[in-house]
Symmetry: C2
Subunit: 318 residues, 2 copies
């Protein structure tokens, strides 16, 4: 078996992502961590690095952020020249505690620090990127990144959350007009559309701008909507979800990295990209933080993607 995605890793592609690079302190029923490196931008970049050998990360950290981690990203092909370092300030810090079901969590601490005034500056060489991933940030910050592009990317994807729907809906609606793919969870899709049926929600949200909608459902998989097409990606039933932090960003990064490497965005390729993102997310939750993503190799990923095939393949005819 020779998956095109793993040949594709050797291509040089244009992918840029904006998102937080942060410290997290996490408590789950299985244990707790001190401050470890996290953040949407971190997970997106690590996930897409399985598919693209050159990508640009746009973010901001404080003087307290370990240079070693930026070096590690660089070694994985991530251009970190767009990660601003504010030496006299502190890195964004989030602390949370997951409930037993791992589907809900309490935020214990949020210290915005450098993220509070974050005005991303896209490096010159990333302003003509073909693929742009906007991690969860305020919609106006996301829009400012789009506006810095010299040419319109082939595909712009973004994440958002209910917080922005609550406090910045008008800005969010404006930003949605400029993107191609919205990646949100089922609760967010229901809030944004105002309807419960995800099929109806998808139609309403796709009228807001994004032609393509991906609804993440955690342990229940993900739905992809494009034109009249729907794809239901399964989630791998896991022995244990150890730490869900970063799973959604890993999914998004894997999805965009796969597409950037394939350099095409038809429905069949998007399906594969969702399986790639789902497979990476299924690794992400097996250990705390980024640990598992840093351990696995392409062979592990390839095997995991095959598990998704076995999990969901059936033939109506015997």
């Amino acid at each position: 078996m020779n998956l095109p995605i793993f040949a594709a890793q050797f291509r040089t592609m244009n992918l840029a992502a904006v998102g937080s690079v942060a410290f997290d302190a996490i408590e789950t029923p299985f244990g707790k961590t001190d401050k470890i490196v996290g953040g949407a931008g971190t997970y997106i970049a690590l996930a897409s690095s399985f598919f693209v050998t050159k990508q640009s990360l746009i973010s901001v950290v404080g003087g307290d952020f370990p240079k070693e981690f930026l070096d590690l990203l660089a070694a994985k092909g991530v251009d970190t020249s767009g990660v601003e370092i504010k030496h006299n300030e502190k890195t964004f810090f989030w602390s949370g505690r997951y409930h037993t079901d791992m589907n809900s969590r309490d935020t214990l601490v949020t210290e915005l620090n450098v993220l509070g005034e974050f005005q991303p500056i896209v490096p010159e060489h990333a302003r003509s990127t073909d693929f742009l991933m906007l991690g969860n940030l305020s919609p106006s910050v996301q829009l400012s990144v789009i506006q810095q592009m010299k040419v319109r990317p082939k595909l712009i994807a973004m994440d958002t959350m209910n917080f922005w729907m609550d406090i910045a809906l008008a800005e969010l609606q404006e930003t949605l007009k400029h993107i191609d793919v919205l990646i949100i969870n089922d609760e967010e899709a229901r809030q944004l559309s105002g309807v419960y049926s995800l099929r109806k929600a998808a139609a309403i949200i796709r009228e807001m701008g994004p032609k393509i909608l991906i609804i993440k459902k955690g342990e229940h998989g993900a739905l992809l909507f494009h034109e009249a097409n729907v794809f239901y990606a399964p989630a791998l039933p896991l022995e244990e979800v150890f730490d869900p932090t970063g799973a959604g960003d890993t999914f998004a990064g894997g999805f965009m990295g796969y597409l950037a490497a394939a350099s095409q965005i038809d429905f069949e390729t998007m399906k594969r990209a969702i399986i790639a993102g789902s497979a990476l997310a299924s690794f992400c939750v097996e250990k705390f933080g980024t640990q598992r993503l840093l351990e696995i190799n392409h062979n592990d990923l390839q095997k995991r993607m095959q598990e998704f095939v076995a999990l969901s393949t059936f033939q109506l005819e015997a």
Copy 2:
């Protein structure tokens, strides 16, 4: 396209089911019904009638139950000689109101009536059935049906619910030792196993007796566990769930009817059977009660099963 299942409808197979035949009064955000015919046994029999032309239903009703409905079942190949009619008593009645999300409901009225003292008597000709479906009833009543079999059926499947785990766990555990397939929802699987991970829950439950476990997840599809194999069946994202009543029983009836018609129970056939059950359940919820199941024909079902193929098929290689 020529699906074997639709050839199979002409076979005469051995399928027997026990379950309630009842009156329901249902309120959903879309409207409400007067007393309409419902009950697990009713939905199971209607669903399996799409695949088998001869089956036996074992149940009990009161003198108030419309003979016309029993005639309608008979016209669909359901032998109703095992449906006892207690002329001086009343049929089981349930009334419930669904919440906006359709995933939860309040029971407004439960009048057990004839079901309170239900001691099913399996007709002589059904005691050598190859396939036996035990609808949700007390575990000791389910066991009494198994004990009336003259030869051990090839496959015994059962449904149960958290109520029996709360008040009759020992009896439930005993009954589980005698069956092959347990069909429950995710919440019930977690309660029965005492663990949250469905993969771990499946391993624990399969140690209790049933070799095969199906976990229904409503709008999130269903999981099939057998030996080391797992299959994730998608659910069709619907424009609207009008009335979820009977969907689980329809799923179970479709699953068992399909297997009985195919007359084989390997993993690949079980996958197809789950798609058949899921397709029928997706029709069931489109209108109140049994209405939609009584409207559709084999062609509708065939098309719906093809939608499941389109929904979940992907290829890792371009």
